[in-house]
Amino acid sequence: MTTVTAGRAAGTTTSAAAPGTTGADAAPGPGRPAAKPATMAQALNRALRDAMAEDPAVHVMGEDVGALGGVFRITDGLAAEFGEDRCADTPLAEAGILGTAVGMAMYGLRPVVEMQFDAFAYPAFEQLISHVSRMRNRTRGALPMPITLRIPYGGGIGGVEHHSDSSEAYYMATPGLHVVTPATVGDAYGLLRQSIASDDPVVFLEPKRLYWAKDAVDLEAPPHSEPFGRAVVRRPGTSATLITYGPSLPVCLEAAEAAREDGLDLEVIDLRTLVPFDDETVCAAVRRTGRAVVVHEATGFAGPGAEIAARLTERCFHHLHAPVLRVAGFDIPYPPPMLEKHHLPGVDRILDAVDRLQWESEWTA
């Protein structure tokens, strides 16, 4: 919940990631020996394992999380190590899974629930909105809901329909939920640990196309992670600020590299937690550069970028040289695999938006 000064957050920067890595929070810095690379999937798995080992109240549950280890293998080995009661295959019913997790949390457990894919979390919507997000409020704190709802989200993996949704707008619009999404291997570990430790419900969105992205992170001694609620400047810059999260971070870092050729020095911010939102870090950055583009895969209309653009404008209006622009998925159902590349915000679309920041807005006819 704590936000820190923009200065400190901005200090936590690294160079842009090479293609195939998620970003950079674990590049071997001074005093830290180079670690064997780990994937985001491995980091998530390790976070679950460490959380379960540390706290017997942590219970993992979902479809196929047991013997199979989940369709993405994020829960691999947990049932073998902690028993099937601690890492439990459930019947195939998402409302039932989240609903029973509510009851388990009422009895003092700390359920970590896996939804198999983004769109398959929708059957649990009522339990999430009407109960998970409100139980603490309803009972004046007597029944907190320390539930972590893990949802692999986003596209770019060639998945058939219903396997590529970016549903974060629904969760952001729901008071009582935290919404978290890592973009780096280090954050996958750190944010998941922090989410499980949180006494409030967390919708933990895992960018599935980054599951196999690697970073040099030593999972035996996972690096310190920035706190929950804090955005991190992944790449400092002076010309304009790209604000992003999750699967779009590597794309933004790539765009920033490409922009150098045009003489532009783009800053890239990784939000990490969408709720709570780190106004301090983001506003400080935008006041510095005076120009910003929000980038995400979710559809644009009433999407996450709307809130970000609106609040930045409210708070930094007189520092802005151009409107905060948005580069987002089109306002269409997620397209079939062979067409998804046209839908997903790519480097060119981001740079086009940056171009539009330099001049009078073309919209002001």
């Binding site: 989240l98 004046r140 007597a142 029944l143 006494d199």
Partner: protein, 397 residues
């Protein structure tokens, strides 16, 4: 014999044709291809409910002293419950409650559900079940807080082991399963009793909860108060099943049917189910046949959808009257005993009335206090905004 076209014989006959009836072929079973075993075999017989609801009143069964005391206690609580329902309804007319969904006519279910539980057990009430909560020992003022409107849940669920009254129908059922399952995993012999209406059984959450409970063998008792209506929709438009209790076999748990206006019968069936759950026997689905004597809530007009005669027929099967008559016939209840029960109920009602007539203390700051464990920066800003507004208002006055 066999033909690809739809058979000419009437369907029922065709449907009844079964492997067992294929006698000529039975001899050759050894060579007939059969699928490998695909499932542990469960006998569905014991899971099926009796066709008639279980009843105790009017029987000649002798009562031992403990049973006598139980029946009398049930009676006192029924009298109290009826008075509570009347008082709460009256409070809506005085504007002291926003709304009240009365359980008049269903008091036997409410009271028996509470009494069948031990202190360590949990009750999961639906929005109509404030009386069950009160009968479990909750202060009626706290039970009615939701309906008065000063907060959503007026009590600490952990203190009383009563989950918040659930407004979204059937959503509390998976909670009960999860809690019972968690307790069992932790080695506690806690049972959860989950209440739902006939209408609520149509929701997907009902299905998912019962299935989870049966698969996990969770110690839960599901009590369906079948009061004939979901607001205006009668049972026949809600389900075509022989009974709601027949749903149990589809999950692999026993289904039982009980006369929901026969308090001792409801209490016995629920106690048995609780006992079974506590001893590792898994969940039970109990359907109690009862009737919603009042309208859906004080705001509803029941004459729009049901005839007065139906209500009258059920008034003749009133749970309070039935038990009183039986106790008097058995000479277990004297006029004095009945008066004492009535006096206690009157006292409760007077106290409730008095306390509900006081305006509740409200703290607008509470709006932000319990959204998260600690306020987010955003909520801190918003709380400050509201505080400034309130100060400005005060200054203006």
């Amino acid at each position: 014999m066999l033909s690809p076209a739809p058979p000419a014989a009437p369907y029922q006959e065709v449907l009844a044709m079964s492997v067992l009836e294929q006698t000529p072929d039975r001899e050759t079973t050894g060579t007939r291809p059969a699928p490998p075993p695909w499932q542990p075999r469960t006998d569905p017989g014991p899971l099926l409910p009796d066709p008639e609801p279980y009843r105790l009143l009017g029987s000649r069964t002798r009562l031992d002293p403990a049973a006598k005391e139980l029946w009398l206690e049930l009676y006192r609580r029924l009298v109290l419950g009826r008075r509570y329902n009347q008082q709460a309804t009256a409070l809506t007319k005085q504007g002291r409650l926003a709304v009240y969904p009365s359980s008049t006519g269903q008091e036997a279910c409410q009271v028996a559900a509470a009494m069948a539980l031990e202190e360590r057990d949990w009750l999961f009430p639906s929005y109509r079940d404030t009386l069950a909560a009160v009968s479990r020992g909750l202060d009626p003022v706290q039970a009615l807080t939701l309906l008065r409107g000063d907060w959503h849940t007026g009590y600490d669920p952990r203190e009383h082991r009563i989950a918040p009254l659930s407004t979204p129908l059937a959503t509390q059922l998976p909670h009960a399963v999860g809690l019972a399952h968690a307790a069992r995993l932790l080695g506690d012999d806690v049972v959860a009793m989950a209440l739902v209406g006939d209408g609520g059984t149509s929701e997907g959450d009902f299905h998912e909860a019962l299935n989870f409970a049966a698969v996990q063998q969770a110690p839960v008792v599901f009590l369906v108060q079948n009061n004939g209506f979901a607001i205006s929709v009668p049972l026949a438009k809600q389900t075509a099943a022989p009974s709601i209790a027949h749903k149990a076999v589809g999950y692999g748990m026993p289904g039982r049917l009980v006369d929901g206006n026969d308090a001792p019968a409801v209490h016995q069936v629920l106690s048995e189910a609780v006992h079974r759950a506590r001893n590792g026997g898994g969940p039970t689905l109990v359907e109690a046949i009862t009737y919603r004597i009042d309208a859906h809530t004080n705001a509803d007009d029941a004459t729009r959808y049901r005839p007065g005669e139906e209500v009258e027929a059920w008034r003749a099967h009133d749970p309070v009257v039935l038990l009183e008559r039986e106790l008097r016939q058995r000479r277990q209840l004297t006029d004095r005993g009945a008066r004492q029960a009535a006096d206690a109920a009157e006292e409760m009602a007077a106290g409730l009335r008095a306390r509900m007539n006081a305006d509740p203390q409200l703290a607008p700051d509470d709006l932000f206090a319990h959204v998260y464990a600690g306020p987010t920066p955003q909520l801190r800003e918003q709380a400050a905004l509201l505080r400034a507004e309130l100060t400005a208002e005060e200054d203006a006055v």
